[in-house]
């Protein structure tokens, strides 16, 4: 019997999901072998063990997928009525709910995120995105999107998504594209392709017409083949700012449309009149949710100087209760880093933070001896000049800065090349609104952080990209609207 309250392990069973030893590419409604037979392994980041062999799509495979998408667009999906498309989307949403446990377990195995997050956040939100957009499919004319009230689909959409929320980002991309009448070729991230391949099976189960959704797995080369394919009408990309810039360059001068959802270095502003215990919870969910693998993470804490010591003490005590370890344990709060490469990147930036003179702190925690792990970390004594205050770390690393006045908070929050998200903690409504009006960020959360909803548009300013996803604004990115068409 444990002394004190040492929660016994509560592991979720991996038996609910069948992982094939190898996967083909999903093109034209069928799984097909890659043209040159190349494959790569996808790993469980919590153990380092291989889960499956996944096909490496070549330029020829991408071309086949784009042709399948074009055929489906011309013959079936484009001409289909919105009401009919909506039925398919509702069906997919329901199947995602029915198979939620299977998806949650697979997502956690492939990504390393805690099962409680894949189970309670990722999968329910993914289903919600399909439900929400299913409702729009037959109502696009009433969405106020222009084009004399008849928004038309764009055609074939190339979509490239990141590894931090594999199924959720898939649903953010595929649901609005399909609702608006487009067909898609999607490339999931090379480290987290499995839920996309399970989603391909859901498309089959839903009798989605062949070619409407195509999934081509692979790494950067595959993504490049997709974004540079001449018969793509639009590229939608979520990922790093560097890759986003490359894509923007390759698309420049073509007729292709482009939306980019890139990096961030979100400011989380805590005023001295904030509800401190709840603010601490918001700071924790802002940066330690999903191991900090969140583009809109609140990775820069801006706390008013008069309460800084108190807030930091409360935060450190709270971090002592975070449970880091086996992501399949239902009590785990912080799971594994997604890949060895990402772990190396986080480690390098954190070392730079120490070298520049910021103070590094982590709660005592035993990390598993295999797999990729990084303890929740806080940097204090950080200044705007430090790399850890400017560069996106994309890991469980928080930089704490202080401010004295609201104007200084806003100036520091905006002093970043990014502009994706921000948080404001204050008990005073007028101060929240004053601050929100002045922040250059796509999403501003008040007395909360990392809250998502399909009805709410999401996207960035500056180097965080352009275009919006979710809500009516997100639909706009997938239709030919206004006088230009």
């Amino acid at each position: 019997m444990p002394t004190g309250f040492e929660y016994a392990p509560a592991p979720e069973s991996p038996a609910v999901v069948d992982i094939a030893s190898s996967y083909g590419l999903f093109i034209g409604g069928d799984f097909v072998d890659p043209s040159d037979g190349a494959s790569f392994k996808t790993l469980n980041p919590a153990t380092g063990e291989a889960l499956s062999d996944v096909s490496e799509g070549s330029a020829a495979d991408v071309d086949a997928a784009v042709r399948a998408a074009r055929r489906a667009y011309d013959r079936v999906w484009g001409p289909m009525s919105g009401a009919e498309r909506g039925k398919y989307l509702f069906r997919i949403a329901r199947i995602l709910q029915e198979r939620a446990r299977e998806f949650a377990v697979l997502e956690t195995l492939d990504n390393g995120k805690p099962i409680k997050e894949s189970r309670d956040v990722d999968i329910p939100l993914a289903a919600a995105h399909f439900f929400y957009h299913a409702g729009w499919a037959d109502k696009l004319e009433y969405a106020g999107l222009g084009n004399a009230g008849k928004p038309a689909p764009l055609g074939v959409i190339g979509q490239v998504i990141p590894w931090n929320f594999p199924l959720l980002m898939l649903s953010w991309k595929i649901a609005p594209a399909l609702a608006a009448g487009n067909t898609v070729v999607l490339k999931p991230a090379e480290t987290t392709p499995l839920t996309a391949l399970l989603f391909a099976q859901v498309c089959q189960q839903a009798d989605l017409p062949p070619g409407v959704v195509n999934i081509v797995t692979g790494a950067g080369e595959t993504g490049h083949a997709l974004s540079s394919h001449p018969d793509i009408d639009k590229i939608a990309f979520t990922g790093s700012t560097d890759v986003g810039k490359q894509i923007a360059r390759s698309v420049a001068g073509t007729r292709k449309r482009l939306t980019l959802e890139l990096g961030g270095k979100g400011a989380n502003i805590v005023y001295d009149d904030a509800a401190l215990d709840q603010a601490v919870e918001g700071i924790v969910s802002g940066i330690y949710f999903n191991q900090g693998h969140v583009c809109c993470a609140g990775s820069r804490l801006l706390v008013q100087e008069s309460i800084a010591d108190d807030v930091i003490a409360r935060l450190k005590r709270r971090l002592g209760t975070l449970r880091v370890g086996d992501p399949m344990d239902k009590n785990t709060d912080v799971g594994a880093i997604n890949s060895a490469e990402q772990l190396a990147r986080i480690t390098a930036l954190v070392e730079a933070g120490e070298a520049e003179g910021a103070t590094r702190w982590s709660p005592p925690c035993d990390l598993p001896d295999r797999g990729y792990w990084f303890a929740p970390t806080v940097f204090t004594n950080v200044s705007q000049a430090h790399r850890v205050a400017q560069e996106e770390i994309f890991g469980p690393v928080l930089s704490v800065l202080t401010f004295r006045t609201p104007a200084e908070a806003v100036a520091k929050a905006n002093n970043t090349p990014y502009g994706l998200s921000a948080g404001i903690w204050s008990d005073k409504g007028s101060r929240v609104l004053w601050t929100a009006d002045r922040l250059r960020a796509g999403v501003v959360w008040a007395n909360s952080f990392n809250k998502f909803d399909p009805t709410s548009p999401f996207g960035g300013y500056k180097e965080s990209g352009y275009g919006r996803e979710g809500g009516r604004h997100g639909l706009e990115a997938y239709v030919a609207a206004g006088s230009e068409d």
């Binding site: 444990p2 002394t3 004190g4 309250f5 016994a8 215990d277 709840q278």
Partner: protein
């Protein structure tokens, strides 16, 4: 408020309570509470998955924290004696079952309980100060408390004057707690009776009020802060208990003094009790996971805990017919 635990000033020197304006300034300067965030945190703590060995530990710990309670107008000496018998031997079929912490009765039943419990070491808690409404003169409240202490109660559960609190008269609430505390310490034959101050959080209406009332009670000398009388709905809720645990944690940080927390009313199942223990563990910390610092005020919770204890040891549910009713 400083988070330092190195210095430990006594409560008296920590805040100036000489006028209502001083008290008001201090209480309204405490960090506010965000309702949405507090309730979300409580809900998240409620989803911890507690299995096997942890559950066995939690059940035994919860049993040892119970203030087994009967507070009915119809209470008789026979009813109280039955309750005391159950407190001494919660489960006749398993002698490894821990005893409860205390029995909690009305003032006039303290003598009966004292006789029935003998030298078992089980505490006797009495509700006083015109429980549950608290609507009586201070003289009556003090006499009520004096009665209970004289009859042998070593724990006093007093109610605050919610009317005074809600009207902003914090000084009256403070003074009454101080006066009752003085009586708790007045009996030369016994060690100081522990003072549990019932805030009746269901009547305080806002979480900000719950935080202020908690700090006010601690400043006035409460040994425990307690949620409810059990006569008002809602009684103990997880967000309120979470908030009070934050209050005692902050209080220790500021003064070095540890104060206990007692949720009372509405906690009937093992599952509920375990959610509370998780909240204690992750909010105030493991130091509070003891009957000295955390209690459950409950009448029927013990039955469910014993049923779950049977289930863990035998693998099967026997049902409530195999647990003594009282």
């Amino acid at each position: 408020m400083s988070a330092s635990t190195t210095s430990a000033p006594r409560a008296g020197s920590y805040v100036d309570a000489s006028s209502n304006a001083d008290l008001r300034g201090w209480l309204h300067g405490l960090p506010p509470v965000d309702q949405v965030g507090l309730e979300a945190r409580a809900a998240a703590l409620g989803t911890r998955s507690i299995k096997t060995t942890s559950k066995a530990w939690a059940i035994d710990t919860a049993i040892s924290m119970i203030d087994l309670t009967t507070l009915e107008g119809a209470d008789t000496p026979g009813k109280v004696r039955n309750l005391c018998a159950k407190a001494r031997v919660p489960d006749r079929s398993d002698s490894s079952t821990p005893r409860v912490a205390a029995v909690c009765v009305y003032n006039d039943m303290v003598g009966v309980a004292r006789e029935a419990l003998g030298d078992s070491g089980i505490h006797i808690a009495a509700v006083t100060t015109a429980f549950p409404s608290g609507r009586a003169s201070l003289a009556v409240k003090l006499a009520d408390t004096q009665d209970a202490v004289s009859a042998g109660a070593d724990e006093i559960d007093m109610v605050i004057d919610r009317g005074a609190f809600l009207s902003g008269d914090y000084r009256t609430v403070f003074d009454q707690i101080v006066a009752v505390k003085k009586i708790c310490a007045s009996n030369p034959d016994r060690p100081d009776a522990h003072l549990k101050v019932i805030l009746e959080t269901g009547e305080l209406a806002t979480y900000d009020n719950v935080r202020r009332a908690s700090h006010l009670a601690m400043l006035a000398g409460a040994d425990f802060i307690k949620t409810s009388t059990g006569k008002i709905s809602p009684a103990a809720t997880l967000p309120v208990v979470l908030l009070m645990l934050e209050a005692v944690r902050d209080w220790r940080d500021a003064t070095g003094t540890m104060i206990g927390v007692k949720p009372a009313g509405g906690i009937r199942t093992t599952k509920d009790a375990i959610k509370h223990l998780v909240t204690v563990n992750e909010t105030a910390g493991p130091d509070w996971l003891s009957p000295q610092w955390f209690r459950f005020g409950a009448s029927s919770l013990l039955t469910d805990l014993l049923m779950q204890r049977h289930k863990l040891s035998t693998g099967a549910y026997a049902g409530s017919d195999y647990i003594s009713e009282d």
